[in-house]
Symmetry: C2
């Protein structure tokens, strides 16, 4: 049984006319003899309407009831779309989270998929050619409805593809695929044909908002090939898949940026064992996500500690650290929110040094000062003044020749 | 564990302000230490909105998908109402059809409850003081969502009361209870304090639209006391319950009417065995509901056969009978839709004749011609010209002294 999974977002199912367009997309693999599993979001605007309703009722809605409420959005879009298919004589039916069943943990509002029992699904596929699965929702062991968080339908789709061992998981979106960088900033940005899971994870977490991060983690774990493509054309999009030699031959695959960064510096912290824990544990407890961390070389028994947090968390972070001033033992607390992070991403970096130094030079030539650096196996990130973000992205995009397919390692001068 | 079941309709849950009123009703039995099971309909207008959406999509929506679609209405109202309760610190949760579970057959759109497994419900009642149950919906064995048909929330409520052995099942409505007849026609109509299941079945099936018929059948079968009462006051309403001596002492309990009647006459039908089957089986196959049937005495080998059907079915009925003209063997086919049925109802009739003849006289005094008569143990129905409906209802209401509690059997002159 050849199975193709397709996922469509809220804009695609928002009206009868857009659903008819979606039906055309479904008909392609259907006519080729595949079983098609279509994962749908709620009609655009519906989830927000339901959230607003809940907030009219109470200030802090119960999380479990909220999930039961908002999950009706996908239930409606799936029922309507199934009606369209059945009306065309196609053997189709809707499948809700509890019917699949898509089993999740009990974290209402941000549940994680634990397991998809495929017994019932394969039975349904015997009698049906198209299953219309409600995205974004699952069901915990006590039979209560859960939701997977914003963008959760991507994860639903990838999870279905993994469970059903589908040929491919097509994610339809309003852009033609994944780009080497944000085309709004850099007109030279080009569509990437194939990108490795790890690269996509770095791209997604840094603002290339094409896919929910968790769906990429899922795809990587179960080796699901994800095809990100446009709802508005039949063109090939971007394949997110396992790393291969061709990908590694390219030094840099993309440039990402993230303006949601704020920098905190603790001046003259005592350089003693346990001081890092004293600083970062209280932040972790408050679910403040610390990203880049730099510790300057000690001067005597003192050191400076600099790190970044999301801009929205800066006030709370400062409050926590001020309260712990004597416990941690620092002299001064500095902060700045006029910063951003620009990152160079590529699995090719694994086998090649020299990317960072080449980037330094390129940024220096444009007089862009680097405030912090952090590196991983496949990524180099720079913290810079926010106002230089666009210039830095364009400079690096050009430096690594991403407008013409990137630099092949043979030609790398690292 | 004392359990009270309460059911509220669409108008009662339509907005935040009306839901706050419903909350007050729930607080009464809750404060008295009862566990409360609240059965809710969809917010007024929501079911129609969803039906309209489906009809925009396709002309003949798939029944199973339709149920999945419209069941979101109750899901939304239950989630919102549970949020309100939880916000007040009440241990409450919503319960959907598949969560209870309320098991039904597979007749999508008009499913019948097969069974309510109370294991999960009693477990929920250990941890919660109020369960907010979605009315109108159930779940068939294949885990698909079903709905019980218009007014199905009444049946949901009675079924919950039966399954949980609740003290009482309160049905809140926009009228103060069940009346001796339609107050819009007869200003003398009075509220009935207690009415027997069988009487209520006759009243309900004939246009006293307070309770869905099936819910009364259910209540009778499981001996559930149903309290029909007003959402807008704390006054006692009408108890629908088992027949007792007091009820039997009253000759007539109420007058019902039904304008949705059309009369068909087959003139000079051959009076041979099997002719009735030849007429009525084809109608039954087309789900045309035949109500009153009268066969005139034979003249030789011929007879006249007259019966009534709902007005909407008259064309189809005539078509069926015309097609079968030679098979059945009749001389002429007559029809009239300007007729209505007026019925006298009362368990007291069981032990007393004379009700019919008394009614004949009263109607004759007003020059109302009786076209057909049918009788059962607790009911006498007259088919009359539709234009006399209101006059007949008022005449019979007065004749049997329903404005002053009805005629006690001692004083009956039958």
């Amino acid at each position: 049984m050849n199975i193709v999974v397709q996922k469509f977002g809220g804009t695609s199912v928002a009206s009868l006319s857009t659903q008819l367009e979606v039906m055309k997309k479904v008909m392609r693999p259907y006519r080729e003899g595949n079983k098609v599993v279509v994962v749908l979001s709620a009609m655009a605007g519906e989830t927000n309407r339901l959230l607003a309703l809940a907030n009219e009722w109470v200030t802090t809605p119960d999380a479990a009831e909220m999930d039961s409420l908002v999950s009706t959005g996908e239930q409606v879009s799936c029922a309507l779309f199934s009606m369209l298919l059945k009306n065309q004589g196609i053997r189709a039916r809707s499948v809700l989270g509890f019917q699949a069943p898509i089993r999740t943990d009990c974290s209402f509002g941000k549940a994680r998929i634990v397991d998809i029992d495929t017994t019932a699904l394969f039975e349904m596929l015997e009698d049906h050619d198209v299953l219309v699965v409600a995205g974004f929702q699952g069901c915990e062991d006590g039979r209560r409805i859960t939701t997977l968080g914003r963008g959760g339908s991507d994860t639903s789709a990838v999870a279905m593809a993994a469970a059903l061992k589908a040929e491919v998981c097509e994610i339809y979106t309003d852009v033609p695929g994944v780009f080497t960088t944000d085309p709004n900033i850099c007109s030279d940005a080009t569509k990437i044909d194939r990108i490795a899971y790890d690269e996509m994870l770095e791209m997604a977490s840094m603002g290339a908002k094409v896919l929910q991060i968790r769906s990429v983690e899922f795809a990587k774990k179960y080796n699901v090939t994800v095809h990100v493509r446009s709802t508005f054309s039949d063109e090939q999009g971007t394949l997110v898949c396992q790393e291969d030699d061709d990908m590694e031959a390219v030094l840099v695959s993309g440039i990402a940026y993230d303006k949601d960064q704020a920098r905190i510096t603790l001046v003259h912290v005592e350089d003693r064992p346990g001081v890092s824990a004293a600083i970062f544990s209280p932040l972790a407890e408050r679910k403040i996500l610390v990203d880049m961390i730099v510790q300057n070389p000690s001067k005597g028994s003192k050191t400076d500690m600099t790190f970044t947090v999301p801009k929205a968390d800066i006030k709370q972070t400062l409050k926590v650290l001020e309260d712990l001033r004597y416990e941690i033992g620092y002299e001064d607390l500095l902060s700045s929110s006029d910063v951003s992070k620009v990152s160079i991403i590529g699995v090719g970096m694994r086998n090649h040094s020299g990317v960072a130094s080449r980037a330094f030079r390129a940024l220096a030539d444009e007089n862009i000062n680097i405030l912090m650096i952090s590196t991983s196996e496949i990524k180099v990130s720079f913290l810079i003044d926010e106002k230089y973000t666009e210039l830095a992205v364009r400079t690096l995009h050009k430096e690594f020749a991403l407008h013409e397919g990137g630099i092949q390692q043979e030609s790398c001068t690292g």
